[in-house]
């Protein structure tokens, strides 16, 4: 069980530790900026697009956290399904305003 016996197991999801650290910090910074961007985008239609990008960033972060399962659902839900729902809802609302 002890990690010292296992030397750099290479799987499709693993990168060397040093690179991983840098990667994670970079993506974390991007996610933090992304969250701010989503909140500060006050035009809802544009915000849906920014949310989609934010979902993509989160998905990459989760991949770096070794969570491919969550990555996949964040991609399908956060980056695709939710923005679509938002845009459809906005379309519905907008149509009434006309």
């Amino acid at each position: 069980m002890n990690g010292s016996h296992v030397v750099a197991v290479v799987t499709p999801y693993s990168v060397t530790p040093g690179l991983m650290d840098t990667l994670q910090v970079t993506i974390l910074v991007l996610v933090a900026l992304g969250a701010a961007a989503v909140v500060l985008t006050r035009v809802p239609a544009r915000q849906a697009i920014v949310l989609s990008v934010y979902g993509l960033l989160l998905a990459i972060l989760f991949l770096a956290f070794q969570a491919p399962d969550v990555t996949l659902s964040e991609l399908t839900v956060g980056a695709v399904a939710l923005p679509i729902l938002l845009l459809l809802a906005l379309a519905k609302v907008k149509r009434r305003e006309k």
């Binding site: 399904a81 809802a89 006309k98």
Partner: protein, 253 residues
Amino acid sequence: MTPGQRRWVFGAGMAGLAAFLLWGLTGLPGFGNYPGPYGDIINRVAVAQTNATGVVSAINFSYRGFDTLGEEFILFVAASGMAIVLRHLRGEREYAPTDEAVDRHVPPTSEAIRMVALILTGPTVVMGWYLASHAQTSPSGGFQGGVVLATAFVLVYLAGRFLVFERISPVDVTDAVEALGAGGFAAVGIAAVAMGLPYLTNFLPRGTIPGAVSSSGTIALISFFVGVEVGAAFILIVGELLDQTLLLREGSG
């Protein structure tokens, strides 16, 4: 409160709350030092116990399958709740059809989009099906598969008109399918109870080869039902939001 006051009051409160939260977070073992034991134990025993090589799916559909049951019903309730709120809206429309903006111009879907959407539909269905049926081996499962399957239906919508969408997923049938997905999951658990075992016990033969498609007993079955439920729920949700846009298209095209 005026927006200005609120901003200040919130700022002060949030500063305090953030300091408090950080005070607590410093008590964690530090990033990258997960101490266990829950996850470590499951990582060690899951493959032998369930014959599923994807441990996350083993947790979602077996060890903590009861959580997933609740989660499926949350989605089920959300789809029903949307139907209550929005179908009623549609009902009202029937009394006053003239107040809708008939003069709005809706550009017809371009041929290119239609083609691309049509081409994508097939692979998407296959992909969704693959994801929903390979929970035990790969990073996937009913949930992701269901969403992807629902996406296929949205593509159908893009390719054609809503009418097609309605024909493929009539609301009543989708409703029933959704209920069957959620109910099927609950029923798989009940089958164990009927055999005198605790609820959701994995009572099916688990195969002999870890990670084979037919391995892992009820895990694959539950994943399938989750896929059906999630797919149907998403189709319902998107359908509820789409219906009016569609009526417009019919009017204009």
